[in-house]
């Protein structure tokens, strides 16, 4: 049945949310122009409409969720992003897999933050919410799905499948509903897909708050006052966006096998750049609060952050990145609308700033080298340069397009080796940041002159040099660049640590955010230097795997034959099993113990499935496999130096939408990660080349050899149905039950099938990869009470793995957590400041 009602309801709510956002904007605009505060009529009008707007957005979200949960596959969005076999948390994730859903997520966060602003502000409500409501109107227009003649405004998530896809099936039966959706891309079926997008869009939403305060300040002539309420939100936003960026990096590292945590892909850059500027703006705003300088810079930076977020939205969603990125969204034909959105806010910001620019107070005095303003300003400048260096090549597709528009031809492309190109610049900037953040802190807390500076710096410089020297020796760092990074990083940790210690000693607990965040950043720098600079392939191999591979490929991949221990660095490693995950059974189940059925999600147990004395399924039971596209390869590691053992389960996902995805498994050891993955997909059963067939005759209960393993034929069994043939009343299917005894007490069950259908003989062999054998029933001999089996063997099962050592990568992740903690402490401090002033009636 096609449920048209719910879709129309959802669409209606979108239209309501669009109209109410415009009306709210108008109401708040009027209120601002009349200088209203409190509960005046226009403010009330704006507030009520914004609340209706927010509630309708929540209603849209709830409607789309319920459609996804109830499997309404007659809707295009539901059909293309959800499916029946998704567990609940991935059903949630399928909500924001598509463009429309992610716009909704953004609208949702903006609406919630809008509510918070309405609740926590007195004086600022009207102008700030005007900006909010206008932004919401633009965003809502993206999912409006209204068509005027040839003009299409927005793309609604409530379109019926039959209206989007022209397929003959709809001519025959317009009420056709697909049985299942195409589902969330298996690659994205990962817990990071549940948490990373909401975090990112919350970060995006947070950039709207400082922007709105800034515009409100410029608009109402409160050129200075906007900084106080904007600052805690800027720090909070930088914390959220920073966390989201790192989460994306960790996701890439852990699952996607992009080769690292950061790839300098345009989509990644598009979020990194605004984050850098956001951090720079925090610093100039703090300077302004301390000493009334850098106000103009703060205004420019805060506006730039928001514009950059719009720009990154334009880049990733308009299709302009086209050939430049591996993971941008598909083009929904919204590029014009996105461009208008971007240009509108760019023009409006310039208008508001330019109109009053000469009235904005600026400090005339030259900042001396010994002033904190000077140091913070240099730091902010460095952050801006970092952003500039990344945004230029990322914008190549835009430059090309603009030149094309004027009839020219431009073919600029991203540097062929992106990672090297970006890293070489960003590295030096990062060193500068570390040095500045170490030194700047001293200026921040005390008045400095030459002598005081020398005495303040002597201790941290000496300590950091000593520590670095110790690390050089222990970790054998010899590359001069890396030595410099290490020293700079250590210096920042020690210098900020000293400040932290002094603040703690004087019980100024609320003020420690900055020094903690700086220490975190410096630790991240050190972690990145070690894990990237000293990343080392440990799967070193002297065998020739393939003539077609380069020498480097042959030398860095190790073939592992089943159950044959191999040495790799200080480990003895053994490939033990090809596994799958079965719902309700902890850990993994050996693939050869599961027999396929017609439905890929259901398999039959070929022998009892037992984990640690608990039986989860008996022979012949059907089990549910939620992700039949995932295969795991158990590799046991034994450290030959200390005898410690661990097991890694790298994964291969046979993904119908994206081909094969090789995911690593990572062992965190003290001081390093062992990052290992199956680098080449093992042969599928159909691709195996078999040796010549050997025929043997065996009786029930007789023992024989299969590929040198002892096997036991326990008898024939008549079976009622087989998955690949419809048996008639006169047809017969029998199965031979054969147990093969392999190394270390392992048992494998082979069940070849013999069918007589319409007088024709059919043979269904059984393949057991673990013993590299295929067993076929060739004939059944009733006169001698035996069967003739055909045995083929092949090369022993093997996988090819690559293992990389990433030293001290944990320093990066710990540094991240430290940085986030610092941001949180700083947010709290600045928010308390705002609340105090507000309650005094100042704001």
């Amino acid at each position: 049945m096609v449920h048209t009602g719910i879709g129309n309801f959802g669409h209606l709510l979108i239209i309501i949310s669009f109209i109410t956002s415009l009306m709210a904007a108008y109401g708040y605009f009027k209120a601002t122009n009349n200088n209203e505060i409190g509960n005046s009529p226009w403010i009330k009008f704006g507030r009520v409409l914004f609340v209706i707007h927010g509630l309708s957005i929540i209603g849209v979200v709830a409607t789309l969720f319920s459609m996804i949960f109830n499997n309404y596959f007659e809707y295009h969005y539901v059909w293309s992003h959800a499916s029946k076999n998704l567990p609940n948390h991935f059903i949630i994730a399928s909500f924001w897999e598509g463009q429309e859903g992610s716009f909704l997520l953004w609208l949702f966060w903006n609406a919630l933050l809008g509510f918070v602003i309405v609740k926590t502000n007195k004086k600022w409500e009207a102008p700030v919410m005007t900006v909010f409501a206008v932004v919401q109107a633009f965003l809502a227009s993206m999912i409006l799905g209204v068509v005027f003649g040839d003009l299409k405004i927005g793309s609604s998530p409530f379109l019926l499948l039959r209206d989007v896809i022209s397929d003959p099936v709809f001519l025959i039966n317009p009420d056709f509903v697909p049985k299942d959706g195409t589902g969330l891309n298996p690659l994205l079926q990962n817990y990071w897909m549940v948490i990373h997008p909401p975090m990112t869009f919350l970060g995006f939403a947070c950039t709207l708050i400082p922007f709105s305060y800034c515009i409100a300040g410029l608009w109402t002539g409160q050129y200075k006052e906007w900084v106080r309420p904007a600052l805690p939100w800027t720090i909070f936003g930088a914390m959220i966006l920073g966390t989201a960026i790192i989460m994306g990096g960790y996701w890439a590292y852990e699952t996607l096998n992009f080769g690292g945590y950061w790839n300098w892909d345009p989509v990644e850059n598009a979020v990194y750049v605004p984050w850098l500027i956001m951090v720079a703006s925090i610093h100039t705003m703090i300077t302004f609060k301390k000493s009334a300088t850098a106000l103009k810079t703060s205004i420019v930076l805060v506006i730039t952050v928001f514009i950059l977020i719009l720009y990154s939205t334009f880049l990733t969603r308009s299709g302009i990145l086209g050939n430049a990125s591996v993971h941008s969204f598909t083009d929904l034909g919204l590029s014009g609308q996105l461009l208008i959105y971007l240009l509108f806010f760019l023009a409006a910001s310039i208008f508001f700033a330019a109109r009053v620019w000469k009235n904005i107070p600026s400090s005339e005095k030259e900042a001396s080298t010994y002033s904190r303003e000077f140091w913070i300003f240099i730091g902010a400048l460095t952050l801006c340069l970092m952003a500039f260096q990344v945004i230029i090549p990322t914008s190549f597709p835009v430059f090309n397009k603009i030149i094309e528009m004027f009839g020219g031809l431009s073919t600029l492309a991203q540097p062929a080796d992106q990672i090297e190109f970006y890293s070489k610049w960003q590295l030096w900037f990062a060193v500068a940041i570390a040095l500045l953040s170490g030194t700047g802190q001293f200026f921040f807390w005390k008045k400095m002159d030459k002598e005081k500076l020398v005495s303040a710096l002597t201790f941290p410089v000496l300590i950091s040099l000593l520590l670095s020297a110790a690390i050089f020796v222990i970790a054998k760092v010899t590359d001069p660049t890396y030595i410099l990074i290490l020293v700079a990083g250590m210096y920042s940790v020690v210098a900020n640590g000293k400040i932290l210690f002094e603040l703690l000693k004087s019980r100024s607990y609320t003020l420690i955010g900055g020094s903690i965040a700086h220490m975190g950043i410096a630790m991240m720098l050190i972690g990145i230097m070690f894990s990237e600079g000293y990343s080392k392939t440990i799967s070193v191999n002297t065998l020739l795997i393939s003539k077609e591979w380069t020498e480097e490929q042959n030398q860095t991949n190790i073939p592992l034959f089943l159950n044959e221990p191999t040495f790799m660095e200080r480990f003895q490693i053994t490939y033990k099993n090809e596994l799958m995950q079965v719902n309700g059974i902890p850990g993994y189940v050996r693939k050869s113990n599961l027999e396929d059925t017609e439905d890929p999600y259901y398999k039959v147990a070929k022998q009892q499935l037992k984990v640690e004395n608990t039986v989860y399924a008996e022979t012949g039971d059907t089990v549910y496999v939620q992700s039949p596209e995932n295969f795991y390869y158990q590799v046991d590691y034994k450290d030959m130096e200390n005898g410690k053992e661990f097991t890694l389960y790298p994964r291969i996902q046979v993904n119908p939408q994206m081909g094969d995805v090789l995911s690593p498994d990572i062992k965190k050891l003290a001081g390093r990660d062992i990052y290992s993955y199956v680098s080449v997909k093992p042969y599928l059963e159909k691709d195996i080349e078999w040796g010549e067939k050997e025929e043997i005759e065996v009786k029930v209960g007789e023992r024989f050899f299969v590929n040198d393993y002892v096997a036991d034929f326990s008898g024939l069994e008549r079976i009622e149905d087989v998955s690949y043939a419809n048996l008639g009343p006169d047809d017969v299917a029998v199965r031979a039950n054969i147990t093969v005894f392999a190394e270390s007490g392992e048992k494998y069950i082979a069940q070849p099938i013999f069918i007589i259908q319409n007088g024709q003989v059919g043979k269904q062999p059984d393949v057991i990869k673990e013993i590299a054998s295929k067993i076929t029933i060739e004939s059944i001999n009733p006169d001698t009470g035996s069967v003739t089996l055909g045995l083929n063997t092949t090369q022993k099962d093997f996988i090819i793995i690559k293992a990389i050592e990433k030293p001290h990568i944990n320093v990066l992740w710990i540094g991240t957590l430290v940085m986030i903690a610092g941001f949180i402490i700083a947010t709290r401090r600045r928010y308390i400041e705002f609340v105090k002033m507000r309650d005094k009636g100042v704001e």
Binding site: S325, V326, L385, P393, F396, L412, A413, I545, S546, M658
Partner: protein, 122 residues
């Protein structure tokens, strides 16, 4: 500060790669340039719209294929890695690499897949 900004721009310019056709790439290689370039195109298809002339090596560890650039020039491309995910379903292919002794060797392949985020057919 301005000096650094200028240095960034110069470095960006000298490191930037470019989108070219196979013809231009060949010319560049003949002129002694070994700069890595981007070529945009599609996999070769027969009249039925099926992809043809993709040859994974016997052990599936490398692949060579025929690519047609935007000027309809065909070129065999060698890629020393297993065939990338979703290769045969790609709508567009971008190869990054260059000519080495008259063979076009790709270091990297980017794919644009119609199905990556949106389904377009039942």
């Amino acid at each position: 500060m301005i000096a650094i900004a200028i240095a960034i721009i110069i470095s960006t310019q000298s490191n930037a790669s470019s989108y070219v056709s196979f013809g231009e790439a060949k010319e560049m290689a003949n002129n002694g340039s070994n700069k890595k370039i981007h070529v945009v195109g599609e996999l070769k298809k027969n009249e039925m719209g099926q992809v043809v002339d993709v040859y994974p090596s016997d052990n599936k560890l490398t692949v060579s294929f025929v690519m047609v650039d935007d000027n309809n020039v065909e070129q065999t491309v060698f890629y020393n890695e297993p065939m990338p995910s979703d290769f045969l379903r790609s709508e567009k292919v971008v190869v990054i690499g260059g000519y080495q002794n008259d063979r076009f060797v790709a270091d990297k392949i980017l794919l644009k897949c119609p199905s990556k985020y949106e389904e377009t057919a039942l």
